[in-house]
């Protein structure tokens, strides 16, 4: 059992190269992208999301007209009319251009709001879960208090306090989302913090901050990613709801909620306005949901193949 055996076991070295090669292949097979690409519904979700994001990012190039250009002579044109594939709205603005620019606002607000909620929620959840005791009680009781309000009501209250405006919509949606993130993360921290590697890190000199923000965070990341993706979908609906109620994005800026709200007034005269914006909301929400579910399947270690 002497040195030679432990230092350089010859049989071990021989097989080592092929073992590494095998590991590489296995790693590729278990690679997140690889697994995601085999999941059909997730791919559909991803495609929808990518299309919407492209619309949003390249709105200036894609939109054929200025989304706010009023043309009183051509109001309520039906879809397919010359130069207006989705028709026009009550002011004669090109609906396709408005939808494209609306994608930019809606997706930006949804992702921004989710990021705000995730950052604050994750921080609070990590701190509450790791330190426990009185800190945990205070943070989580506040979260419970926030959760007691229906989401849309809470967002409405925040919007009335903050006032309208794109940034305020983001803040309102973000703050209303904090409790969900905090809860998920806290639960995950409770699982992870009693793992032996946290102790091992500690005896090797890691500080609390390092253990929490590097090791525990990294181990709690997969449910956060999944919830993040799914939450974007609900944030899109929240933005639409707020705008529909007149407390979200201020007109004339186009957002899907605004367009839907406009369409409501002319539902009998021009049903296409509400229908098309509604379909875009639906598709995008569906896309993010499918993608989120797909990511969950990929990150779930029990589904390893």
């Amino acid at each position: 059992m002497a040195d030679k055996n432990t230092q350089a076991p010859s049989a071990d070295t021989l097989s080592e190269a092929s073992t590494l090669e095998m590991l590489k292949r296995e790693r590729r097979a278990n690679n997140a992208w690889h697994k995601l690409s085999r999941n059909k519904t997730a791919v559909i979700g991803l495609v929808i999301v990518v299309i919407m994001v492209i619309l949003a990012v390249f709105a200036t190039f894609i939109a054929p007209q200025d989304p706010n250009a009023i043309d009183i002579a051509h109001t309520y044109l039906k879809p397919g009319a010359a130069g207006h594939i989705f028709g026009t709205d009550s002011y004669g603005r090109d609906l396709f251009s408005r939808i494209v620019y609306g994608a930019r606002i809606s997706i930006f607000v949804a992702i921004g709001g989710t990021i705000v909620g995730a950052v604050i929620g994750v921080l609070l959840g990590l701190v509450a879960g790791f330190f426990g005791g009185i800190v945990d009680s205070i943070i989580m009781r506040i979260m419970d208090g926030m959760m007691a309000f229906p989401f849309i009501l809470l967002a409405l209250i925040l919007m009335t306090i903050l006032g309208t405006g794109t940034l305020n919509v983001i803040l309102a949606i973000g703050i209303a989302n904090v409790p969900n993130f905090a809860r998920i993360v806290r639960g995950q921290v409770h699982v992870v913090k009693n793992e032996e590697y946290c102790n091992a890190e500690r005896v090797l000199g890691a500080s609390n901050a390092r253990i929490v923000f590097r090791h525990i965070f990294a181990n709690a990341l997969s449910p956060i990613i999944v919830y993040f993706t799914l939450n974007i979908a609900s944030a899109i609906i929240s933005e639409a709801a707020l705008s529909f109620l007149g407390l979200g994005i201020t007109p004339p800026t186009a957002s899907w909620g605004n367009i839907l709200s406009d369409g409501k007034n002319s539902l009998q005269l021009a049903p296409h306005i509400a229908t098309i914006s509604g379909i875009f909301i639906l598709l995008t929400v569906l896309g993010f949901n499918l993608l989120g579910d797909g990511i969950r399947d990929v990150l779930d270690p029990k589904q390893k193949r």
Partner: protein, 349 residues
């Protein structure tokens, strides 16, 4: 407690002394009472030496180690006693200093290597991180050091292994990585808490051999916690037998095996299976169960399981006394007069 023992211990030269634990009491405060997990334990450890702590589950071995490392859970407290590590008072030490000592001067190897490495980071990034906490060096230098350490612990292809995730390594490999991480900053003192319990026997022997090698190269002191007397025999210079939070016997390794004095030690030694007895006799056990740690401290803790217990054992807690040179035992029946001998074990039965 154990005053007599401490006086003698303090006479030994201080030169290579790395750790002195004196009359340590660590209690756990639970809803149903105070559990005296460590109740008056003293020992010392010198550079390059190994102290083995042996005892059954719940005897306070791991809590002793956790006290030294200051890794106790929230409801565990060091009630009294001293822990002096390399001129630092570990009981009152400040947090910053503690973080500095851990991983740098003292390190620990865990029971189950598969769970002691963070599963989401590569071996390399964990090693590099751990080295860079303590030594201010560039990532590339830390990487070099990591490769060196992996070589030292006998991992083939260290460069490519840095890119492996823990789940891609076997238990023995993981334990080697853990050992590499533990010794990467050349600590003066390593706690090995049942380092081979989760490994199979051949790997166990390799890991122990590796630990021994590294100890010689780096002049590290090791506190080895185990319930396996065979490992103690292989590794330790001094042995401490613990039972229900107290020291039963504390002796140089050869001495303990040649002349064990405490009835509990006899019980432990008797319950080791011997090849020569294979198939002839049933495995011997110590009848009864260890006492509830919330209720200990009124009598000799081994009283209810000891075949030699007397009235005296029920009324007074035995103190740790030096019976033979360097050989301490806490037993009323081993107090000079009226000595028990192990031969009587069989005579009695």
């Amino acid at each position: 407690m154990a005053q007599d023992a401490q006086e003698v211990l303090e006479k030994t030269p201080e030169s290579g002394r790395i750790l002195t634990v004196h009359d340590l009491h660590t209690y756990f405060h639970t809803a149903s009472g105070i559990a005296k997990a460590v109740d008056g334990v003293s020992f010392t450890l010198d550079r390059g030496k190994t102290l083995g702590i042996v005892g059954e589950s719940g005897s306070g071995k791991s809590v002793t180690a956790a006290s030294v490392m200051r890794l106790l859970p929230k409801n565990g407290r060091i009630e009294s006693g001293e822990i002096i590590f390399d001129d630092n008072d570990m009981v009152t030490i400040e947090k910053d200093k503690l973080l500095d000592l851990r991983g740098n001067d003292m390190a620990m190897i865990f029971q189950d290597p598969m769970t002691a490495l963070d599963p989401v980071f590569k071996i390399g990034s964990q090693m590099i991180e751990q080295i860079r906490i303590h030594d201010h060096m560039s990532k590339a230098e830390a990487r070099e050091r990591s490769i060196e350490m992996l070589k030292l612990v006998g991992i083939p292809n260290p460069e490519s292994r840095l890119n492996s995730y823990p789940y891609e390594l076997s238990g023995g490999m993981c334990q080697r990585v853990m050992i590499a991480m533990a010794v990467s900053c050349h600590p003066k003192f390593v706690i090995a808490d049942e380092p081979t319990t989760a490994l199979d026997v051949t790997v166990q022997a390799q890991v122990l051999e590796l630990l021994k090698d590294l100890q010689q190269q780096l002049d590290t002191a090791i506190l080895l916690i185990t319930h396996n007397l065979g490992i103690i025999w292989q590794m330790a210079d001094t042995v401490m037998v613990m039972y229900a939070g107290r020291t039963c016997e504390y002796a140089p390794m050869e001495d303990l095996y040649a002349r064990p004095l405490h009835p509990y030690t006899w019980g432990l030694l008797d319950s080791m299976p011997k090849l020569s007895d294979a198939g002839k006799t049933d495995l011997k056990t110590i009848p009864g169960v260890p006492p509830d740690l919330r209720l200990t401290g009124a009598c000799c803790n081994f009283y209810n399981r000891c075949p030699y217990a007397t009235e005296h054992c029920r009324t007074e807690v035995p103190k740790l006394k030096e019976i033979l040179p360097g050989h301490f035992v806490a037993c009323h029946r081993q107090n000079g007069v009226n000595k028990l001998t192990r031969g009587e074990v069989n005579a009695h039965e």
